[in-house]
Structures are given as structure tokens and as C-alpha cells.
């Protein structure tokens, strides 16, 4: 394996260093390091960050390979600077058995571009009725630790309680998609003045907040860990802030799109903006930004949800929910949070890499320490560029950011010391 040095690169705190790696492991970091490396990556003008870690990714395989595969999703991930993604369970068949999660895990290994950690379903077939074989998935080769019925809410309080309790025996984590199904029957967009004017069925904030409040109380009662997927309302932030102040073991994620986009975009009925949970108001966006900056919200997760063209090239009600996000996540978070002065680059590293790795227990991810696997992303913070969804490596191009000018761009990604992305282009190399 080639030894590589990244020379004259900045760290997130602004200091200039060189980073050396041998056999895929970081061996040296400092202003002055040894010089006998096989290859030098000139880091001048770039910033080195630990590879990003996504806890919420839809890779669509098995079942929806026309939208994405584990391979194309991995390519999209490294183009966005991610060195670990978490494949959501709502595939077909559902990832509710050891067999399916092992298949996804193996496909990730074969792709060799980033780590692919399968998420297991909480309930059999995502039906919300009966627990899936959580223990079997946990002890499988995929070693699943996160379980989620994402796309569907575990609305039955008893099933939720049992799930929270059951995963304690193998330190598992339940990631809840908080959406009361009865309060969101046929819901299409955030409930408010705009939904009323557009005649689209409203998706009230309380449908999310009531489930979050209930689950926080349940997690406290059974002394288990709870993770809240894609928080989207100001009220949810308040409830999570309260829970944390009480020492309840809850973590939360926010998506890049909920940090930047608002419901106003829907007035033309373009389904590119159709997503679950829905885009909310400016007030919600501001509360989410504050919550992410002050630590109420722990991490950014993409909820990358690729869909084939025909599922968005139609009328609003017929369109699928979801947006791609892997390849724009860093730029969106940098633009909305760092460039705007709301948080530091160190905090960005925390929310996009360190904290998700810690929450999920992804050992070796989220660190630039000597001795860690060399999962490194180089970004150019001075770059402003228009997003071009057609150039994305994802198999789908349903990006709501298409055409928007964003700041901060991912240039290179190293996975186990292998440069899988250079200057924004796949090198064709993989980690075997």
C-alpha cells in the first residue's frame, strides 16, 4: 500500500500541518514531518477534516436499483466527503433480517469506497406491529447498532417501549422517524398559511413534536438511548433542549435541507421540494440552526433519498417524498452555518463527523488522531460554485439545491489512506 503525505494543509482550527499516512493509518501530523512518502497530495489552500459520517442514507438496494445502488451511493458519498454512511432499512425486501443487512454490508465492502453500515428495521416489514430480529442483526457480520423504521413512525407506544428496552442488551440505538400517522393522513406540506393557500393537506408541527415528547419520556422511563431523525420544527428543538437539560439520553439530527430551505419554495408545486418531514417556515429554520450551533441538535444527517426522474416529473400528490443530499451536505452546512457566522469549523467537524461516529459507535471514524484509519476529506473553503445535480455521482438527480450557488467544496476523499476522490473526481481506486 502506498504511503501518502498531505502537505501544507490546514486543520479545522486554522493551523497549517502536513499529515502522513502509511498502511492506511495516520502516522504523523505536524508542521515538520518526515519526507519519505510514495506520494504527495499538495494541500495548499485546502482544509483537512476527518471524513464525514452520515447516519441517515437511503441507498435503495435491494429493490430500487433504478434510483441508487450501494455502489453508486458510495460514489455519491465520497464525492460529498463521506467515509461512512448508514443504509436505511426501508428497502425491498426490508432490512429486517440478518440476511438482508449482511447483503448490504457485503455490497459496501465490495464497493470499497467508504464504510456502509446497514441500519436494521425495528419492526418486521416496517409494519409497526412486531419487533424484527434485532438481536440477530446485531450479532450478524454487519454488526447492526442502529435500528429504525424510517419513513414510517413507530406510533404504537408499547412497541416503541419494547424496542427501546430490548436494544439495551447489545447497546443498540433506536432512531425514530417522528410523525404521528393519524395527524398526517395524506399530508403534503407544512401546515400553515401556505398550505391553506395552495390547498395542500397540512402536516402540522405537533405531529412531529408529540411523538418526540412521548419517546423522550419513554426513553427516560426505560433508561435507554433514543435518537431522533431529521428534526424539523422549532417546537421539537425546544422539547429536545428540555430533555437534555434533564439529562435524558437523547440525540438528534437535522438535515442540510431543513437548515437552508423553507416551505415558500413550494408555491410553484414543483415536487423537487416534496420531502418528509416537510420543509418548514423560516422561524423553524432559524431554531434548527440555533439548536445545531448550541448543541441541542447533535449532528447533521443527509436523509439522502434518491428517486428516479419519473417520480418527480409529475403532479405534486403523485410525486415521491425525498431529496438527494450526500454531494451537497458539506456545502450547505458550511454556507448556512459557518459562513453565516453561526458556528465554527470545529463545530462543523463535530456535527458531521465526530459526533455521528460516536453516537453510532463507528470505531475508527471521525478522528484525525495518529493511529486512526486515514479517513480524510479535503475541502476548499474559498470556493463558491453553482450546484449542478446532473453532474452528481448519485444515480438520481433530485437535488433541491440544483442551480443554487453554495460555498465550500469537497475536493478529495481518502478512505483507509486510499485516495478515492481527487479534485472532485473518482480516481477508480478502492480499498480492498
Amino acid at each position: 500500500m502506498k504511503s501518502i503525505v498531505i502537505s501544507d494543509v490546514k486543520l479545522s482550527d486554522g493551523s497549517s500541518v502536513s499529515i502522513g499516512m502509511r498502511d492506511g493509518v495516520i502516522t504523523e501530523i505536524g508542521a515538520q514531518i518526515s519526507s519519505d512518502y510514495d506520494e504527495t497530495i499538495l494541500g495548499t489552500g485546502l482544509t483537512a477534516l476527518p471524513g464525514f459520517v452520515d447516519l441517515h442514507t437511503h441507498l435503495r438496494e435491494p429493490g430500487k436499483e433504478d434510483a441508487e445502488t450501494v455502489l453508486t451511493g458510495s460514489q455519491s458519498a465520497v464525492a460529498g466527503g463521506f467515509t461512512a454512511v448508514s443504509a436505511m432499512a426501508n428497502t425491498n425486501p426490508v432490512a429486517d433480517t440478518a440476511g438482508v443487512v449482511e447483503q448490504v454490508f457485503r455490497l459496501g465492502k465490495e464497493a470499497g469506497l467508504c464504510e456502509v453500515f446497514p441500519i436494521g428495521a425495528v419492526s418486521k416489514g416496517l409494519m409497526g406491529e412486531q419487533l424484527a430480529e434485532l438481536g440477530a442483526m446485531a450479532t450478524s457480520a454487519a454488526a447492526v447498532r442502529i435500528f429504525s423504521d424510517d419513513g414510517k413512525c413507530i406510533s404504537d407506544p408499547l412497541l416503541m417501549r419494547r424496542a427501546l428496552e430490548y436494544v439495551k442488551s447489545f447497546n443498540g440505538l433506536i432512531a425514530q422517524h417522528a410523525q404521528d400517522p393519524r395527524l398526517t393522513v395524506n399530508a403534503q406540506m407544512n401546515e400553515g398559511e401556505i398550505s391553506s393557500t395552495l390547498g395542500l393537506a397540512g402536516w402540522p408541527a405537533v405531529a412531529e413534536e408529540s411523538i418526540i415528547a412521548r419517546d423522550i419520556l419513554l426513553a427516560d422511563h426505560v433508561q435507554s438511548r433514543l435518537h431522533i431523525c431529521h428534526v424539523s420544527t422549532a417546537g421539537s428543538v425546544e422539547i429536545i433542549r428540555w430533555a437534555k437539560s434533564r439529562g435524558i439520553s437523547v440525540t438528534a439530527e437535522v438535515t442540510p435541507h431543513h437548515l437552508l430551505l423553507t416551505e415558500d419554495l413550494i408555491t410553484g408545486y414543483d415536487p423537487i421540494y416534496k420531502v418528509n418531514p416537510p420543509l418548514r417556515s423560516q422561524r423553524d429554520v432559524e431554531a434548527l440552526r440555533t439548536g445545531l450551533a448550541d448543541g441541542t441538535i447533535d449532528i447533521v444527517a443527509t436523509d439522502h433519498a434518491p428517486h428516479p426522474r419519473e417520480d418527480k416529473d409529475c403532479e405534486w400528490a403523485a410525486a415521491a417524498f425525498g431529496m438527494t443530499g450526500l454531494e451537497t451536505a458539506f456545502s450547505v452546512v458550511f454556507t448556512a452555518m459557518v459562513k453565516s457566522g453561526l458556528m465554527s469549523m470545529e463545530r462543523l467537524v463535530e456535527v458531521m463527523s465526530t459526533a455521528p461516529a460516536r453516537i453510532a459507535g463507528y470505531i475508527g471514524q471521525g478522528s484525525l488522531a495518529i493511529g486512526s484509519p486515514a479517513h480524510i476529506t479535503l475541502v476548499d473553503l474559498a470556493s463558491d460554485y453553482p450546484v449542478n445535480a446532473r453532474s452528481h455521482l448519485s444515480k438520481s438527480s433530485n437535488s433541491p439545491f440544483n442551480g443554487l450557488v453554495l460555498s465550500g467544496r469537497v475536493r478529495d476523499t481518502l478512505f483507509h489512506g486510499v485516495a478515492v476522490l481527487r479534485n472532485g473526481t473518482l480516481t477508480g481506486e478502492r480499498f480492498a
Binding site: S196, G268, A318
Partner: protein, 320 residues
């Protein structure tokens, strides 16, 4: 103006233009001109994804009186029931040479998608999209009101001083949305009356006031517009029973008696006699239900005229 998707697409002058064109067309028809040659050679498609006999017939009749060729496309028993997408259906109609597509669709925004997504070049007229809008219904209601109160020759906001109540399932009503926008644009003072469960969130943003009681100010309204109540609203717990709804929000003869003598009663139809409106009220002298139907054809002629022919053609025909 090449499409009519929402009342928001119309300026005050354009809205007045359509109403006045309808009045001119009425004079022409009353003068014996049953059919006008204006749109000869034009192909107009009625693309109806929902059953709606009266709206479809009204548009068909309007188009035929202007000598256009009309194609009726109903989703039932067509390629749509075989899973064809809106885009493919629309492009098929375009390929057959449609100059205008009149679309009725169950999905809010379907007309807007058809007009703005680059799928087709034809003019798009919204004949009702989900729970969003039904602009030609609002125009025909405004025309009915303007005629009755003899306001068409006024300038600017011709409905200033007029009080209008819209009563019923505001939440799910495209008629209510279009009327709120148009009647306030024309200067009327509009009040939405519904049980709280059927009142949209943030309805004040429409420029209207709202009231949970029909009896509160019933004697003040110049126009009372009753909306149809769908029976499935009851099973979804928007209100307890039909009987309770009729008692609290139905226009019965007692309430009819409390209305201003000059006030008129509108209903977009089809009516549920005995639910939102009693038979006495529906057949009362000040009920304009049948006028609404005949005005509907005139207003839709005026819309087709304006979109496909343009004002100069209107002038020519009117002069002729």
C-alpha cells in the same frame, strides 16, 4: 395571459375584462347569435380526471358556441386507468394539436404543473385542482353578483361595500379559495363561515374575516354562498352528524327569513338539499343557482375568448 390557473394570475383589470366580455357575449346571444365563429379551427380538450358533469358540459358548451372543436377526455376507461402519467397524457393531447387544455384534477397544483413544467405549449385552464382553486367558478359567481346588483359598469373595485358570506367546508373547497381571492380583489368584504374543524389555518392571510357562527351577522350579508358538504367529512369527524351540521350551518327557511331582503343566495352545485341548504331556500326567489349555471357558460366563453383570441378579437366580434 395564456393560462388561467389561479385568480392570482388576474389583475383587477383583467378580471373586469372577462366579466365585461361575458356581458357583451350575453348581449350577442340575446340578439340571436347562438353561435359565434371566433374560435373556428381551434381544438379544445376537456381533460377531466374527476367526474364533473356540470363543469365539463359548461366548458364544452362554451367552446362549441365559439365554434371550437371539443375533445372530451375523461380519465375513467382511458389510458390513465392503465397507469399513464399526466405528462404523457398531456403530451399526447399536444401532439394531436390541442390549442387549449381545460383540466380538472384531484391533485392541487396539477394545472400549474401542466402549464409550468414545459410539457406542453397549449393554454391551460384550471377547471378545479384538488382543494386549491376553481377560478372560472369564482368568475361566474362574481358575474352573477355583478349582474344582480348592476355593478358591471362601475369602475375599479366594483364590489366595494358589498358583504359576502361563504359558508361551509372552507378547508376543502377550491370554490371558496378562488372566490375569496376574486371577490376581495373586486373590493367585497368577505367572511368565511365554518365550524373550526373546516376552517383553514391562517385563513386571514386570504384577506377575509372568519366566523364560526352563521347566525351572528346573517342579516348583514348581501350575498350568501353555500358550499357543498361531502358526506365523507362526517366519517372523518369534522362534525358529529349531518343533522347537527344542518342545524348549525344549514340555510333553512328560518335563516332565509333573517337575510336582507335584497340579499341573494348562491350555491356552486350540486346541492345537498336538506343538508347545507333546505329545499325552500334552494328554490327561493333570491336563489341564483340556475342563473349561476347559465352565467357559467358565458363566463367560460369569455375566458376562452380572452386566452385564445385576445382582446382585439373580442372587439371585432363585439363590433360585428
Amino acid at each position: 395571459m395564456s393560462n388561467l390557473l389561479s385568480i392570482n394570475d388576474l389583475t383587477l383589470d383583467q378580471a373586469l375584462g372577462i366579466l365585461r366580455t361575458a356581458a357583451e357575449l350575453e348581449k350577442l346571444t340575446e340578439g340571436g347569435a347562438k353561435k359565434l365563429p371566433t374560435l373556428r379551427g381551434f381544438t379544445i380538450v376537456n381533460l377531466f380526471y374527476e367526474d364533473s358533469t356540470r363543469t365539463r358540459i359548461s366548458f364544452e358548451s362554451a367552446a362549441k358556441r365559439l365554434s371550437a372543436d371539443v375533445i372530451n377526455f375523461s380519465a375513467k376507461g382511458s389510458s390513465v386507468s392503465k397507469g399513464e402519467s399526466l405528462k404523457d397524457t398531456a403530451q399526447t393531447l399536444q401532439a394531436m394539436g390541442a390549442d387549449a387544455v381545460i383540466i380538472r384534477h384531484g391533485s392541487s397544483g396539477a394545472a400549474a404543473r401542466l402549464a409550468s413544467s414545459g410539457w406542453i405549449k397549449a393554454s391551460v385552464i384550471n377547471a378545479g385542482d384538488g382543494t386549491h382553486e376553481h377560478p372560472t367558478q369564482a368568475l361566474l359567481d362574481a358575474f352573477t353578483i355583478a349582474k344582480r346588483f348592476n355593478l358591471l359598469n362601475n369602475e375599479g373595485q366594483i364590489f366595494v361595500g358589498l358583504k359576502v358570506a361563504i359558508v361551509g367546508d372552507i378547508l376543502h373547497s377550491r370554490v371558496a379559495r378562488s372566490n375569496a381571492l376574486l371577490l376581495t380583489k373586486l373590493g367585497a368584504e368577505v367572511t368565511m363561515i365554518a365550524p373550526p374543524t373546516l376552517m383553514p389555518v391562517g385563513v386571514a392571510a386570504w384577506g377575509v374575516s372568519s366566523d364560526y357562527s352563521l347566525d351572528n351577522r346573517l342579516a348583514e350579508y348581501d350575498v350568501v354562498m353555500m358550499l357543498r358538504i361531502q358526506s365523507e367529512r362526517m366519517t372523518d369527524s369534522y362534525f358529529p352528524t349531518e343533522r347537527e351540521y344542518a342545524r348549525r350551518y344549514g340555510l333553512n327557511s328560518e335563516r332565509l327569513g333573517k337575510m336582507k331582503e335584497s340579499a341573494i343566495l348562491l350555491h356552486p352545485g350540486p346541492m345537498n338539499r336538506g343538508l347545507e341548504i333546505s329545499a325552500e331556500s334552494a328554490d327561493a326567489e333570491n336563489s341564483m343557482v340556475l342563473e349561476q349555471v347559465s352565467n357559467g357558460v358565458l363566463v367560460r366563453m369569455a375566458v376562452l375568448y380572452t386566452l385564445l383570441g385576445g382582446p382585439t378579437m373580442v372587439d371585432e366580434v363585439v363590433k360585428a
